[in-house]
Symmetry: C2
Subunit: 569 residues, 2 copies
Amino acid sequence: MRVSQFPLFTLKEVPADAEVVSHQLMLRAGMIRRLASGLYSWMPLGLRVLRKVERIVREEMDRAGALELVMPAVQPAELWQESGRWKHYGPELLRLKDRHDREFCFGPTHEEVITDITRRELKSYRQLPVNFYQIQTKFRDEIRPRFGVMRAREFLMKDAYSFHISEASLAEGYETMFQAYTRIFQRLGLRFRSVEADSGSIGGSVSREFHVLADSGEDEILSSDGSEYAANTELASSPGPAIDTLAPADAEKCATPDTETVEAQAKMLGLALDRIVKSVVVMSDDDTPAVLFIAGDDELNLIKAARALAAEEVRLATAEEVLEATGVPKGFIGPVGLPDGLRVLVDHRAATATNFSSGANEKDQHWINLNWNRDVPLPETADLRMAKAGEPAPDGKGTLHSSRGIEVGHIFQLGRKYSEAMNATVLDENGRDQAMYMGCYGIGVSRIVAAAIEQNHDQKGIIWPAPLAPFQLLIIGIGMDRSEAVREAAEDLHDRLQQAGVEVLLDDRDARPGVKFADAELLGIPHRVVIGDRGLKEGKVEYQGRRDDESTKLDYAGIADTLLEKLRS
Amino acid sequence: MRVSQFPLFTLKEVPADAEVVSHQLMLRAGMIRRLASGLYSWMPLGLRVLRKVERIVREEMDRAGALELVMPAVQPAELWQESGRWKHYGPELLRLKDRHDREFCFGPTHEEVITDITRRELKSYRQLPVNFYQIQTKFRDEIRPRFGVMRAREFLMKDAYSFHISEASLAEGYETMFQAYTRIFQRLGLRFRSVEADSGSIGGSVSREFHVLADSGEDEILSSDGSEYAANTELASSPGPAIDTLAPADAEKCATPDTETVEAQAKMLGLALDRIVKSVVVMSDDDTPAVLFIAGDDELNLIKAARALAAEEVRLATAEEVLEATGVPKGFIGPVGLPDGLRVLVDHRAATATNFSSGANEKDQHWINLNWNRDVPLPETADLRMAKAGEPAPDGKGTLHSSRGIEVGHIFQLGRKYSEAMNATVLDENGRDQAMYMGCYGIGVSRIVAAAIEQNHDQKGIIWPAPLAPFQLLIIGIGMDRSEAVREAAEDLHDRLQQAGVEVLLDDRDARPGVKFADAELLGIPHRVVIGDRGLKEGKVEYQGRRDDESTKLDYAGIADTLLEKLRS
């Protein structure tokens, strides 16, 4: 391809409204153009990259036995009412009315539509398992779209949905998708990590996110240096630093005025924070209170709390709610003598405390030297604490380290949430109707392009991993308009490599060398050859890999073969 | 591919709501499923066909030098307001509001968006000509969607837009697209015709439609048996049957009571219809009247009338409007003594009439033996008549024949309608701002699939042209569950052909032969091989092409090579 036929729309200036590097570079390289807030056109250069992601995703989905289909982007409200999401989805769902005033939405996801298809088409367990996927434009009406295609309103997504007769089959299908995703991100040439994650509002229990690692990533990931363990911070586990086990001492109630905070309590009692078991009162979405006990130096993880309480979500109780639920002012609640009927959970780490201090359930009073099961029965325990970098991995192998990631994939075991709500059943082996188990599996195809740039760039521009590069090789002719020899050499090399199947771009513009070099760095094509008059006279051309600091001279004789070799390796 | 891994969703019954054959067969073959009115999911089998169309379209657009991009489906109202179409487009435009109450539409076409892109990106005539295209899901809110994907609301379209510095360059770009379209429909293996067409509301002057020929087509086409001439009936031309030239006789005014119709007039005067020049009064969209004269045996073509009058559209005047415009009651208007200032046009054929009769511009009075330029100056002439099958082609070569077609492509020379409205200019050679000339070029990708079926089917099912077939070869194993020999032979043949790159489907279901045969006819895969126990014992398998009346026996020895040969030819 020649630039004269494949125009570049590069920009010298950094666009003012682009906050993150990938957004800046995609605009500057002419990969995308903004139409309106969160709406982008993919220009020819950008589309080449997008299609590479799409192809790899498709090939691996096909290889995993998934069946490609395409469902309508516009979906009738009735289906979303059946699943219950029409009410709960919130304003991200772009709702619209057709000319007959019937309600529809521009789909951000397709659980309802695929469940509607399968409940009509699938009759028997013999037709299971099956996995349908599509690669399709979705719409999510973000309140504040930003970061270019990273958080756009219209975006390209691969969404897959699997159907199973049993939980065991779902687990197998989920594992198959896990393997497929792993291959996809490996083939894309990206550094990535799969992490345990929260399922959020989509439902289901088991889920993993795939993150492209990049310092600018929005999500924090904790991963072990001694095992495969990795999790989104919102879900990461660690036993935490060990708490010393002490010889039991006598429990004692102490006056502790003005010690609503655990720090004040520790100071007044002369105790380390991990000798304190502090209380946090939370409210579930149905306004049921629960008292949670965690170690004084730990932070409560609300997502874990919600899971442990089997609630959609929980929030911290207000001071009034604390008083109403326990009869005790905030800051003085403890495990001894709490009102009956209150839900109480103790974090695993707090459960290991000995001779600990906790509230006495009276204003300005705390116990010291409490011991579980001696002074008070140990309540139900759960993982409630935030894990932190530097702490041991939950599998006991290695230490957790923090890194940042951009979420580009998410796989879920949904269970029967949608199939039960929408009555999607098949006959099982015994001839009885049974709701199918469902998995769903997303990949943000357009988002991957931005994430790849966040991970691979320098001051000068993009540095494409080969599998994503819009072209593999850029040929720059210096002074092609003046030197017949340069023109011929450049055209000839271009034509030969193109015929050999190489994705090659020839910059044949009548532009200054500085412009061509700057664009070359910006576009980030992995390999570059510069052909100039002076070099040619010595039988040389200049080669530079995009990550190389300097160029090297190569013999012009046999240059096509030399380059083919480089491209293959 | 095996049916056990690529499930078929075939139906025995003809779905009640499917009116046309392609819709019935696409549902029955499990290619599509209805989600809501005019909204269809493309099931895996259908998607394979759709992708074939898409690939051929893409390859030929690329070959023609067009640049692929993807613009957002959702478009801001502002751009449509700039072009003036927000007001004029009508309720087919699906309008919507985002969460901030800003107005958008789900694009049925992208003239505005591409013009917005090019006015920002293109600065100089040196960057022209350029042609951008996309293959994208569009939405048109049809008042009565029907015929399945033939007239769906959501559909897949290839839309291209070219930009030029001059009309001559536009004509060249248009010709390039004409050639590309011709190659596309040739490669699709469809019988088609390109025809002159009306540009409709999209604007512009020159346009051609591409029709897939099928008896069930909505459009009538007239094409010459002696030349390449072909046109949509709404625009077809013919000089019509010659009108005899008579020796001039004296003009005479006759009383002709109760002869408002041309038939009554002819009867009373004892004249053949082609001796009468009849008047039709029409109103332009700005309510300007015009009097049109055509031969008594001809029918007025309103689209041609609009073109000749340079109006957006025209309609027949009411009796009151006729009286008001001419002062003469309907049925008695003639060319002699019409009020001044009235726009008057005479059809080319009517202009050849001699000794003709026409209204005398008085109630119940007609002239006979009028002659143009003797009794009244011949007004401006134009092509106003409907052409009919059996009439001469306008190029004088051959006779027009009627056929029916399904419109699947349309190419337009738009001119500067959008670039002027949206101020899309570049600097010309003299350094002056100049609005670009624009062409636009559409192909209904999903519609082609239905049109191909309308053209290629029989009582039993679809008959795919090879380039569109979802698979090239179907292998049916008879009693694969009972006969190890059959299973081995079928699997082995499948694996060998698949490895040789053949798109082969093996029906490995435990189903009755009748079911498999019926599905084979329904799916319409071009080649079919049946492997059964009895045949195998004789070293034979049965081969049948989808268009063959009977099967033929082939040697099982070397069957893979025999089939590869057949598939290549």
